[in-house]
């Protein structure tokens, strides 16, 4: 139980760090022009839904049909791993099927900030 709490806290810190580093508003605009062909925040489309992606294990959305490479990956999506992934998906997880890179570091940072600003909603107390 304690381990879960610590892990949750660590992920929350990572998410906060990601959102603080980039410009989430610019990231949203980038997301809606670059990523939107395949992705949405709240729905699986050509690619998996992105709500709560920061802190999530790669290949973990049960409703989405991932490549075997993503399914078997041990990667956990943090600001760092997402940055690496967006810079070069195939180098990060060989055999993936996204194949779309975001070459500019600031663009990646802002997109990650937008993703981090869309966490999984907490149940009402």
């Amino acid at each position: 139980m304690l381990e879960r709490c610590i892990a949750g806290l660590a992920l929350a810190v990572l998410a906060l760090h990601a959102s603080a580093a980039g410009d989430a508003l610019r990231g949203r605009a980038l997301y809606e022009s670059r990523c939107i062909a395949c992705h949405s925040i709240d729905a699986d489309r050509v690619g998996p839904g992105h709500r709560g992606v920061v802190g999530r294990k790669a290949g973990a959305v049960a409703s989405y049909d991932y490549s075997p490479a993503l399914k078997s990956s041990r990667t956990v999506w943090t600001a760092t791993t997402l940055d690496r992934w967006l810079a070069d998906p195939e180098k990060t997880i060989p055999g993936q099927k996204m194949n779309y890179a975001v070459p500019d570091a600031q663009d990646r940072e802002d997109i990650i900030a937008w993703l981090a600003s869309n966490p999984i909603a907490k149940p009402a107390p």
Partner: protein, 194 residues
């Protein structure tokens, strides 16, 4: 005449009359030069097939997005005709991609149900013709950037060219939709695929 109507008054009737022939020819051209590689896909070929299958999934969604729009009752003629023409283009893309994937030894990804696409695209939030056009414009812009973005990933240069050709179709669609919505042209040069 509204702005949307002015944009839609294109020589589309003559184009629509020819579109079936054009699309079939396009499909043949896209796959020309790709001999069947069904017996044992290499790593590079498998990687290219994966990209094409993602593209095919995108085209399935585009076809269904226009179907949702056409069935919504929100699109008025002549805008409706243009939407149907664009849907026809996406069907041409679908056919060409599926044929190419099969020739390369892959299995084309299957289309989902219209309801699944409608739910994922939040079709229940569409309340006006402008809403439908805005959704279509967003998807077309995304598709343009997606096709341009995967070009460097293709191992086969001919497939990279196919992606570029698909991107230009999507750009044409986006430009018309953007104009119909009364939105300005991009302020800077090179707005796509950055």
């Amino acid at each position: 005449m509204s702005h949307e109507d002015r944009v839609a008054v294109l020589p589309r009737r003559s184009f629509l009359a020819r579109s079936g022939t054009l699309l079939s020819a396009s499909a043949v051209l896209l796959v020309a030069g790709h001999e069947s590689r069904a017996q044992g896909m290499g790593g590079a070929t498998a990687a290219d097939v994966n990209i094409l299958n993602v593209a095919l999934g995108l085209e399935h969604e585009a076809i269904n997005a226009y179907q949702v729009g056409a069935q919504s009752g929100l699109l008025q003629k002549p805008v409706l005709d243009v939407a149907v023409k664009f849907q026809g283009d996406h069907k041409g893309h679908r056919d060409a991609l599926a044929a190419t994937i099969q020739k390369m030894g892959g299995t084309p990804v299957k289309e989902k149900s219209l309801d699944e696409y409608a739910k994922a695209l939040k079709a229940d939030t569409l309340k006006s013709q402008s809403d439908v056009l805005a959704l279509a414009a967003m998807l077309e812009l995304g598709a343009t950037n997606a096709y341009l973005g995967v070009i460097p990933s293709f191992k086969d240069a001919q497939l990279a060219k196919v992606a570029a050709r698909l991107a230009t179709d999507e750009t044409m669609h986006w430009t018309v939709l953007n104009n119909a919505l009364g939105r300005p042209l991009p302020a800077e040069a090179l707005p796509f695929g950055a």
